[in-house]
């Protein structure tokens, strides 16, 4: 990780790779706690909304 393949003309060269700040937010606990709550709410709504 952190060692990206950037040689052009290979599939691996075209997807977006995360910047330092993206990596930071992914592991920043207070922000992830908020995402955790949001993900939980979405999942519960998916489950409950999916059957009658």
């Amino acid at each position: 990780m952190g060692k990206y393949r950037i040689k052009a003309y290979f599939d691996e060269a075209y997807p977006p790779v995360p910047e330092k700040s993206t990596l930071f937010w992914r592991k920043f606990v207070p922000w992830q706690l908020i995402r955790f709550i949001i993900l939980n709410v979405k999942m519960i709504r998916i489950v409950v909304g999916g059957h009658s």
Partner: protein, 484 residues
């Protein structure tokens, strides 16, 4: 007193049996027939496969739970269904064969008023020459396969520590295999374990898949909102693979595996070989292969089951071009059309068609993933079927509870590493699993609930789900409040 027999004690069968007993109480009998003495929480096998969990952390003994609930437990494999009975009985029955204890190998006919087939998939390693844990590749589809994979993975790690480069090949081992999510999770965990040990430079990690584009996952991919754009899961998934230093091969139908070599054909018809030192390749799935007979003893397997051995239910199985498939083709009550007291839930039911666009190589080999059969819909199907059967037993004539994969979402939470603060989860939720282009003409799915993101939150969610589902499956206090 009515008797309901549930075949299989996986996600769907166990959920179904638990709700049946809760609704029917002591006045009716619930019987579970399953060949293994343990319940296993399959998603956590990934962690067994990288040595982060032991086998006993992902399984528990069923008998103890069923004794407490008052469910009759038969450790046996179902072989034949006789929906009309035979010359001696007019009642439907299942022929089972015990798999453990003194009566191992003994056959018995178990009569039923209602039958639920929740037997999941047969891991069809034989469909690919040389594939499987007894041959040339590993699997994480059961806890023992995963433990076996970890045993051998450690040898590769030791070799890298000794300065020997190793090639890892993870993905699908058949041109029409599904379950890409599980393989994707495993490859990320392997990459994490290798990087944690500072061995990334010694490893070449490759993803191989029958998907047209990476991120298809057998559901024709999906769109998610991300960074101010609507982005296909192709971009999301490739981005994660690139970040982990993993390269990929797509549109590949693996047809033969030898020691250290995987042979595959591409959609373009090219024949290629990928060499490896460690391979975990998911097999194709089929139904478990039960047969069926009418009252006179004639074979009616084709009436109950589709050619892939999955059971027919209330789906539209008419053959149609891809463009004409619709969300309404998917079943919602899981009742067999011929015998209305038989149901099939979870992976055991026959899907009406693929969700990913069927593709064939120039030589005529179909190369595309079959529909994913994820845990959340499997649990929901088990529950609604239990509720419908309980209500029928209490006199209802209609199915009040419905759940279709074209009205149900799925959450695919992929952990990458196990640490609470350095682990990573790639969370994807899609709603519905089967795109509904009439209801959501723009993207096929509801963009509010189709999410893809990476971060610790997903990892925590995966760990939370592990403990929540064990709590529920073991029937601990208020288990029924935990959603499927």
């Amino acid at each position: 007193m009515a008797k309901v027999v549930v075949l299989g004690a996986g996600v769907s069968g166990h959920t179904c049996a638990s709700f049946l007993k809760k609704k029917l109480g002591k006045h009716h009998e619930v019987v579970v027939v399953t060949p293994n003495s343990y319940y296993q929480w399959i998603p956590s096998n990934i962690w067994v496969g990288v040595g982060q969990m032991s086998i006993d952390e992902v399984r528990f003994e069923l008998k103890k739970v069923y004794d407490r609930w008052g469910i009759v437990f038969k450790q046996a494999r179902a072989l034949e269904i006789h929906p009309e009975g035979d010359a001696s009985t007019g009642k439907g029955y299942v022929t089972i064969e015990y798999t453990a204890g003194d009566n191992s190998g003994v056959r018995e006919n178990v009569e039923y008023d209602y039958l639920v087939n929740a037997t999941g998939p047969k891991l069809n390693f034989e469909a690919t020459e040389g594939l499987g844990p007894d041959k040339n590749s590993y699997s994480v589809c059961t806890y023992s396969h995963a433990a076996h994979a970890w045993e051998h993975l450690q040898e590769n790690i030791k070799k890298m520590q000794a300065g020997q480069k190793q090639r890892f090949l993870i993905g699908t081992g058949h041109a029409m295999a599904t379950c890409q999510g599980a393989a994707f999770e495993y490859i990320l965990n392997i990459a994490h374990e290798i990087s944690k040990r500072g061995l990334s430079k010694m490893a070449q990690i490759t993803w191989i898949s029958n998907e047209y584009e990476v991120g298809d996952f057998g559901m024709g991919g999906a769109f998610i909102k991300r960074g101010g754009y609507i982005t296909p899961t192709k971009v999301f998934t490739e981005s994660i693979l690139a970040e982990y230093g993993i390269n990929w091969i797509r549109r590949a139908g693996v047809y033969k595996v030898e020691d250290g070599k995987a042979y595959y054909e591409t959609l373009d018809g090219e024949d290629k070989v990928q060499e490896f030192d460690f391979a975990m390749l998911i097999p194709s799935f089929s139904g478990v292969g039960m047969t069926a007979f009418d009252r006179e003893g004639n074979d009616i397997t084709d009436t109950l089951f589709a050619p892939n051995k999955f059971m027919k239910v209330d789906a539209d199985y008419a053959q149609k071009p891809f463009e004409e498939w619709s969300a309404d083709d998917w079943p919602s009550t899981y009742q067999n059309p011929t015998y209305n007291n038989i149901y099939a839930v979870g992976i055991a039911f026959a899907p009406p068609h693929a969700i990913s666009k069927p593709m064939t190589s120039v030589t005529g080999r179909p190369i595309f993933p079959t529909p994913p059969r994820t845990g959340m819909p499997s649990g929901v199907m088990g529950k609604i079927t239990a509720l419908n059967i309980a209500e029928r037993i209490h006199g209802a004539t209609e199915h009040r509870h419905k759940a279709s994969m074209s009205r149900m979402g799925a959450a695919c939470i992929v952990s990458g590493g196990f640490g609470s603060f350095d682990g990573l989860g790639a969370s994807m939720t899609v709603f519905p699993v089967v795109p509904d282009w009439d209801k959501y003409p723009e993207w096929g799915r509801d963009m509010k609930y189709s999410v893809g993101e990476a971060g610790l939150a997903g990892h925590w969610l995966k760990v939370l789900l592990h403990y929540l589902f064990f709590h529920k499956a073991k029937g601990y206090p208020f288990w029924w409040l935990i959603p499927e």
